[in-house]
Amino acid sequence: MRAAFFAAMGVICIAAPANAELVLWPHLDARLAGDVEPTRGGAGVAVGYFLPAWRGVLVGLELDTTWNGHFFRDEDVAFLVPEGVDLNTDALVLMGNLVVPVSIPSAPIWRPYAILGLGMTRAFFTVPGTEKYDSAQDSLTFSTGVGMMHQLTRLLGLRADVRYQHAFVDEQRSGGYPKDYGFWNVSVGVMFQLPLGRWPDRWSSKPP
């Protein structure tokens, strides 16, 4: 399995256009505000593939998965269980993102970017010690935000973004969170890039 993964990565790197970049981004998340439990965290990882599109603009596609603990506010989902029962809520967010970084002339180690995502949020409802109240709720999710990439070495970088995520809940179905919800989320992590190299100033015709 591991060999297959590295073989696939090798093929991708070899077959990539000269300026393409493969990016792996493990990240920590914190929810800032919104309809879910704020100030709680999560963790995730994104794998992306970036191509130069036009002058200093790149276009990237990435798959992003994030696990969020203690997702909903207790008082908002307390009606799902009898009084006195402690209901836990977690969520797995799977997103396909369109990422548009822009290189900064004279400072190519900085790349601000915009991000637009579409995916799914799967919320889990569990009660410790029993499976009687276990359930899950899938919701179509849209996200948009802005962020910054910063190159530290030829392999490593820092990346952080702020996103607004909105989940569309099927209100006709009973169980789970009763209505659409949205929240602000910040993600911070270390970014690994292949192939190794300094980010070129893509506005310039000079080689990096």
């Binding site: 914190a30 709680r40 965290g41 006195g84 400072a107 530290l152 702020v162």
Partner: protein, 195 residues
């Protein structure tokens, strides 16, 4: 929808200021050290005012970047309670340096772990030894857990060419989020490699 947190503006401002400022290069290398401090905010439940802290720090600087990545651990000594924080921050040397004094600012994430005694405040009534809440409408609070918050850092580093292996520093860290803390810290960093 709850209001957008004001401190996010601070973070974005920090990012923009470092992005737009001249890209001075930090020294490439690794520094490790120890640090101690005092927490200044008061909170009856979680911590005491003037609680002492002690911990360690690693600072990494890189060839291409003016930012320094600081990884830290701080344990707060509070009677009958567990309180520690693991942090990761990006530090930036301000371009107003003295010959051997380097002011810096930074921002990052802090993961704060806490545990209250089971008979203390905030314990869920269904837990053994827990006290009843004041009224049925009073929500039970977690007695232990980990919370994510934002750390804002401002400090001063002593860095003299003739004493290049030892770098004392002092800084103020404001932790904003579910667990607010204001800690004044001083410590010493030792250069492991690079310059």
């Amino acid at each position: 929808m709850r209001p957008f947190p004001f401190w996010l503006v601070v973070v974005i401002s920090f990012g923009l200021s470092t992005a737009l400022a001249p890209t001075a290069r930090a020294h490439t290398g690794t520094q490790v050290g120890a640090r101690g401090g005092v927490q200044l905010l008061d909170d009856d439940v979680l911590r005491d005012q003037y609680a002492a802290s002690f911990g360690g720090e690693v600072r990494l600087s890189f060839a291409l970047s003016p930012l320094i990545v600081a990884l830290s651990f701080d344990n707060y000594f509070v009677t009958d309670r567990t309180l520690f924080q693991v942090g990761a921050s990006a530090l930036y040397d301000l371009p107003i340096r003295h010959a051997f004094l380097y002011p810096y600012v930074g921002a990052g994430l802090g993961l704060t772990r806490f545990a209250l005694p089971e008979t203390g405040a905030g314990v869920s009534p269904e837990e053994p030894g827990g006290s009843e809440p004041e009224s049925p409408a009073t929500p039970a609070t977690d007695s232990n857990g980990m919370r994510t918050g934002l750390n804002l850092v401002g400090g001063l580093r002593f860095d003299h060419l003739e004493v290049s292996l030892v770098r004392p520093f002092a800084q103020i860290t404001l932790s904003v989020g579910p667990i607010d803390m204001l800690t004044v810290t001083a410590g010493v960093l030792f250069e492991l490699e690079g310059r």
